[in-house]
Amino acid sequence: MGMRKQFVQTVEQLLSCDEKLVLLLGDIGVFGFKRAFEKHSSRVFNIGILEQATISLAAGLAKSDNIPIVHTIAPFLVERSFEQLKIDFGYQRLGGNFVSVGASYDYASLGCTHHCPGDVGALQSIPGMEIVVPGTSGEFDTLFHQAYSNGNPTYYRLSERENSESQEVTFGKACVLQTGNAATIVAVGPVLKHIFPAIEGLDVGLLYYSTVSPFDKLTLRENAAASGKILIVEPFYAGTLAYQVMQALKPRPVVIDFVGVPHEFLTNYGHAEEHDEYIGFSSQNIRTKLEALINGQ
């Protein structure tokens, strides 16, 4: 059904059973939440296009014993409102849910103002900020139910692209999709379709992360320590998870390679798939990098 529709369905259901939940829309998704507006008019707001005040307002709601959900496009939710997220939620240790759309270059045709491959890197610099990158609609539903009321600030990164099937995800835990000794792939969110064909016949491990913060170090340590060779496939800026991976495997020396978004403005338009091809989000590129890693090249 797509993550955005799932988000509507999940929140509609929770609004009916949790009186503390308050939804703030940054003038997007309003039609989708039509029923929620009608049914829960006192707790569903089309707050307008003023992201910084919205995040602070949400903190005030949290201080009033409500559970806020703020929803808008990723760069405006995260980068424009970064200080509000840092201070009003992070520093003050308040619970809230921040659900973005437009992951990385999902809105390829709209250009760089609507791209946001830096969201996860920025947010993981806020102590206590939880980051969820679901790979499918079903995973979003599961993870949101598990974490939305846990009293911590949590970011949910919705994507237009999904994996073909949901994994049995648990908030804060990585899934071991394949074990192997020659190298280990750390895969985040909706990138699996490129990975499965790439690892055919290779003795590599595949760890799937739908929660980035807190990062499940234990699963990585238990499954990757032997080879110390890691390929991180992350649908945001390449290198974002490097520190977490190195910390998890410390003191063992590790060799890491990346498939992720390069640190440059992607000034072309077109479709997200065309950017995938330019960046190297492809089975062929992943296979090539894996083989190089395994062979010590």
């Binding site: 910084q52 903190a59 005030g60 709601l61 201080k63 009033s64 520093y91």
Partner: protein
Amino acid sequence: MNNKIINDMKRNIILTAHLAGEGHIPSSLSVLDIIWVLYDRVMRLGQYQSNDVAPDRFILSKGHASLGLYAVLAAKGFFDSENLKDFCKYHSILGGHPDCNKIPGIEASTGSLGHGLPVAVGLALGAKIRQLDGRVFCLIGDGESNEGTVWESALLAAHYRLSNLCCIVDYNHSTDRALKVGNLAEKFTAFGWQATIINGHDHNEIYDALSVQTVDRPKIIVAETIKGFGVKRMENEPAWHHRSPTEEEFKEICEELRDGYEETICPNC
């Protein structure tokens, strides 16, 4: 107006900054009368002091005036006034800007300007959603009114008719040298607020303005104040913005503030 209590708190502010070699004294003196009247005569505090949710809440958005709020909270028994002597020390609960997770009675951790008012809007909206009684007060500065979030908040509070929200502007004209904000009462009125202009050092005017709640819209009180009020050498003197007095200056200021009274809250002053 109880001059003795006010002067005692002013001496505490001076002493605290002197001991620490830190603090924004003039800003704290600018807001002191407003905060004192709020806590002494306007806000309902009973449950708050036992760490429950307060019926009324206050956010000092211009967090650098923290010494003014600390002086009032200490005088009202939120924490032992001995804590003032540790101001800005490594393990102190009292920092240059207030931390709501450390200090009893602090509603929001402020310091970066432009955060307090939108948080206050959220508190007021949250109370309205939950049908809770109680008012939300927020004090901002005129310089802080340069921040866009202040005006985003002005739009939001008027749109949601937050009559339980009262914003006070400490209008000490500190931003006149940079970006003047002009007639704030007119500006907020244009956004849909009910505006009142008062003398921010006259306790009766402060009380009259704060104690009356609006019916269908948020309230803005533009309080004309003097930065450094009560200490002549600091009044409207930018050099004192973030400076603490020397030993000699400290003694002279204490004499100026003694104003015939011998007893003090802080025995060292």
